[in-house]
Structures are given as structure tokens and as C-alpha cells.
């Protein structure tokens, strides 16, 4: 049970700050918020909100897989986004990417995100 460890993977953009991609503690995987940056270039993907959100979830998924977990084991997700007008797109894409049993979710509009990101998502997932 005492499997404390940090996880960083090439499948997600290199952390641009003093944090790791994920930590495992007490049977749970805690994941740093992901934005729509391409893991290879580190740049934001083109295509606006939808492309950014899909890429952010791709990054989250890559980190979960590198941690031995997956999107279908997410317990709680948290989504922050800038523009209220993107709410419907956020819900639609989220519904396409997360499946039963769906995790608990908190989502809210924020004043700004890092480097002008339109959306970010973090999660806590079961390790087992």
C-alpha cells in the first residue's frame, strides 16, 4: 500500500514549472492540471477550445496510462475554462471522452489560465 511515487512521462508536455505530472499515494493517482499543449512541441494545438480540450484530455490520459491507471478509473475531475460560450462544447467533448462509471466533476469559469490557455483539466484516479 505504501507505493508513494512520482510519475513523469514523455507522453504529456514536459512540466513547465516545479511540479510532476502525477503522484501516487494511498492507492490514488493525483494528476497535475493539463492544458492543450502538444507533448512533442510543447506548443498549444491549433483549433481553438475544442482542439485544446481534446489535447488536454489526451495529455491527462497519457499520464494516467503511464501511472498504471486510465480515464475510466478517474474518481474526480476538475475543469477550469475561460469563456462561458465554450460551456456546451466542454460538456459535449467531456461526454465523448469520459465513460461509465463517470467520475465526480467540478467545473467553473476562471479569470485567466497560464499563458492564455482556454481550458485545463486535472483529476484524481484509482491506481488499482
Amino acid at each position: 500500500m505504501s507505493t508513494d511515487r512520482t510519475i513523469t512521462t514523455e507522453g504529456a508536455p514536459i512540466p513547465r514549472g516545479p511540479y510532476v505530472h502525477a503522484r501516487e499515494h494511498g492507492g490514488l493517482i493525483y494528476v497535475t492540471a493539463q492544458i492543450g499543449r502538444d507533448p512533442k512541441t510543447g506548443e498549444f494545438v491549433e483549433g481553438g477550445f475544442e482542439a485544446e480540450f481534446n489535447q488536454a484530455i489526451d495529455n491527462l490520459e497519457a499520464i494516467l496510462l503511464a501511472s498504471g491507471s486510465s480515464l475510466d478509473r478517474v474518481v474526480k475531475a476538475q475543469v477550469e475554462f475561460i469563456d462561458e460560450g465554450d460551456l456546451d462544447a466542454m460538456n459535449r467533448i467531456y461526454g465523448e471522452r469520459f465513460h461509465e462509471p463517470l467520475p465526480a466533476r467540478t467545473s467553473f469559469g476562471v479569470a485567466f489560465l497560464w499563458k492564455g490557455a482556454k481550458v485545463q483539466i486535472d483529476c484524481i484516479a484509482s491506481a488499482a
Binding site: 511515487r5 512520482t6 516545479p18 493525483y30 489560465l113
Partner: protein, 133 residues
Amino acid sequence: MASHRGIVSKRGPQPTGSYPHAHIDGDMVWVTAQAGRDPASGELVPGGVEGQLNQAIDNLAAILDECGSSLDRVVKTQIMYTDAADSDVIQAVFSSRFPDPRPVQTAWGVRFLAAEPGTEVVRVQIDCVAGLG
């Protein structure tokens, strides 16, 4: 094992609402968001966002210590801040204060944080989840 309880420390600024400094459940401690308030006076410290974040992390460290944990056992952090231009200094302070193994982080911009009686305003706050073992 039925060890879940709230913790209020004399070493953190006294809570101004219906919450403790931290809540312990099992081998995890969940810490209330801290601003850059001096634990003795309750006032915001000078030094802008850098001074505030250093004090806020001091407060987290004192509360964690009281709970039997420490900054190097922090698993997850959340940072809320009011000015996009403060992003780099916030990450620099965070980097200088959180040792390896680093925690995960979620940060976002907010319109406002707690209101203050004086001219200083809270520019940043930080909470965390840490292990006890």
C-alpha cells in the same frame, strides 16, 4: 482507524470562517487554503505576491508540522491568483519552497480573493493535500 478530525493550530493565522486549518482522515491531511497572513497579527505581510506566497507556504508548513506532516510529503497543491503577470514569480517561489519529490499542481486565475480592510489585497492563496506517513 476512525481518525478523522479537524485541526486548528496556534501557528497558523486563525480561521475567519467555519473551517479548521486542516482535516485529517486516515493517513492524509487536507489543508485549508492559506493566504499571506502573519499568524500572530492576522495581517497580510508586505512584499507583494512574493512575500504573500512565501508567508502562505510558511503557514502551510506550520499547519502540516502540527499535523505530523511536512512540505516534502505534499501530494497535491492548488494555487489561485489574481494577476496573470504574477505567474512566473509564483512558480519561482513554489520551486524554492517545495523540495523533491514535487507535488502535482493546479493553478488558475480568479477575479478576487478574500477582501481586506486595508489597501493590501490578497493576491494569491494555496491549499494542499499531504501524506502523514
